[in-house]
């Protein structure tokens, strides 16, 4: 036991003297939160809408005023014809346009029906979709206002409401994602590098010749990173609450419990990686490429898993961070308790056990 403590103390020396690694470890979540929270917001606001009003009548003017009064669009009426819009789209200076045809108001008043054209830049599909939604909502609202005309008591207003995120706070979805990403990267990369470094320097041989139990080597390597990762998790949580105004609805204790489980899963993967390679660079590359890309793609916080072909959804099921992401979302954002997440936790636990046993088994083989 004393030997283990001596060893863990040594690992802490290593970690705290490696300022660069520490900086990466704690800088990464800060940078990511700032980036995702403020720069990479998926909301569309203050977007320039090119309007060509060929009708120039009361109705089109009313609609344009309505659009101007919304906070989503800045209306640009400088373009005079369709060709200018096309050029602006090609140059990328226009992202969306609304065109009223000749006789728009006339048609509307006499036939009750009139077309408008909405053009969006499909190379940015998320924005395009959002713009169409906003504009359609404005048009629908206008249509109902006019047709009501004080005669009909009923007006139907399509209300959009987002569950669990009513004020449209974009931070909510990515906070669990950042947690999964940062913990995954830090734990796998740093542990695998820490073990492989000893192999590269030749100190691993000295340790194996000593009476110190090989399994304790792995344990001692993992403990400091477990502690640091929990500190890191706390940092993300604090930033989420105080910088991004995310409300934590579920039990903090449960969050820590789940995160500890996830961290152990990642540490095991890190140890597994350290068994298959002898160079720090390979270890780093394997954990970065092998873990970061699946985490980004298959966790579900950047790209919705529901839209993927079944084969990718199957792959996603094998990525631990996907399950962690689900659990964190459920506990942190929806306030659900253990009874709702035990299945996901069981999956995560199973993954941890598999990774850990592979790591331990291979480590033994290397000795004889």
């Amino acid at each position: 036991m004393k030997q283990l403590l001596v060893f863990i103390r040594k690992e802490f020396y290593h970690v705290f003297r490696d300022k660069r690694t520490l900086l990466i470890m704690f800088g990464l979540p800060v940078v990511q939160i700032v980036l995702f929270g403020f720069a990479l917001t998926s909301e569309v606001k203050n977007i320039t809408l090119t309007v060509i009003d060929q009708a120039r009548d009361v109705n089109s003017a009313q609609i344009i005023n309505k659009i101007k009064s919304s906070s989503y669009f800045i209306v640009d009426e400088s373009a005079l014809n369709y060709d200018e819009v096309t050029i602006a789209f090609k140059k990328g200076s226009a992202k969306c346009a609304l065109i009223f045809p000749n006789g728009f108001g006339n048609d509307l008043q006499h036939t009750g029906e009139a077309p408008v054209q909405i053009i969006t830049d499909g190379s940015d599909p998320n924005m395009a979709k959002t713009v169409v939604n906003y504009l359609t909502a404005i048009l629908t609202a206008y249509q109902q206002e006019t047709s009501a005309g004080g005669q009909l008591p009923y007006r139907i207003i399509p209300e959009q409401r987002m569950l669990y995120n009513e004020e449209g706070n974009g931070s909510l979805n990515f906070i669990p994602g950042v947690m999964a990403l940062v913990l995954m990267l830090v734990c796998t990369a740093l542990t695998s590098v820490a073990v492989v470094r000893e192999k590269e320097l030749g100190t691993m041989e000295i340790l194996l010749v000593s009476p110190f139990k090989p399994l304790l080597v792995l344990l001692a390597k993992a403990v400091p990173y477990l502690a640091l990762s929990l500190a890191n998790f706390t940092l993300i949580l604090v930033m989420a609450v105080f910088v991004l105004d995310v409300e934590i609805k579920g039990s903090i204790l449960l969050l820590f419990l789940v995160s500890t489980l996830f961290i152990i899963a990642c540490l095991s993967i890190g140890l597994m990686i350290s068994n298959v390679t002898n160079s720090q660079q390979t270890a780093l590359l394997l954990s970065m490429m092998g873990m970061m890309i699946p985490t980004l793609i298959f966790t579900g916080f950047m790209f919705p898993l529901e839209n993927m072909p079944w084969i990718f959804r199957m792959i996603a099921n094998a990525v631990p961070s996907r399950w962690y992401f689900l659990i964190i979302k459920a506990v942190m954002l929806k306030g659900l308790g253990f009874s709702y997440i035990w299945k996901e936790m069981a999956v995560l636990l199973g993954m941890t056990l598999v990774a850990l046993s592979i790591a331990l088994k291979n480590f033994k083989i290397r000795l004889s």
Partner: protein
Amino acid sequence: MNDKVIICEELTKRFGDFIAVNHISFDVRKGEIFGFLGANGAGKTTAMRILCGLSFPTSGKATVAGFDVYKQQESIKKNIGYMSQKFSLYENLTVVENIEFFGGVYGLSSAEIRRRSDRLVNKLGLTQEARKLVRSLPLGWKQKLAFSVAIFHDPQIVFLDEPTGGVDPITRRQFWDMIYEAAATGITVFVTTHYMDEAEYCNRITVMVDGKVEALDTPGNLKARYQAASMDEVFYQLARGAKRSAD
């Protein structure tokens, strides 16, 4: 029998068809400096790994410090020290932290570690550097420190795997003074080397060629038998017949 700390009988290690160590037999006496010579790929390292409890032999018998290499690897590990050709201290730990760590791994008490570590730091003349990172020391001092750490827990035997690689001749000479000093206190030294002048410092020498022990005697006797002026010539005559080369 009691003064034989390493006994090998027909020790063999196979990797598939490849016989890395081929029925080698020898014994090493207490307090002896036992040189283990051979070209790259001759099987030195494999033999040494078996004796250190890192690898199981395929057949044959061997005991180290009285413990069986098949069954009592853990006991062997407690009674040996080891220093490898690669530098074997932690560069980003201080001199004292390195000593404390290895002392702790071998289960010495904190008080004992402190006592011995003060003595060692004084002896090596590292009092000024005790709290500095090992990284900042010159290579020669690092090697001396690594050797001192390898015998810090008073092992019966210390295994040195090409300990003086890349070190200048003066430091090598000083390093060998330390080896003699350790041997004088009763520690058996088992050393592999490429330097033939170092081979001359050993009490007895084994020359391995293609996994077999080709010669085992004192440097003087070997030179007489092969009518050679130096160990260099002896080694050349023996190793010339080797079929395997490089690892």
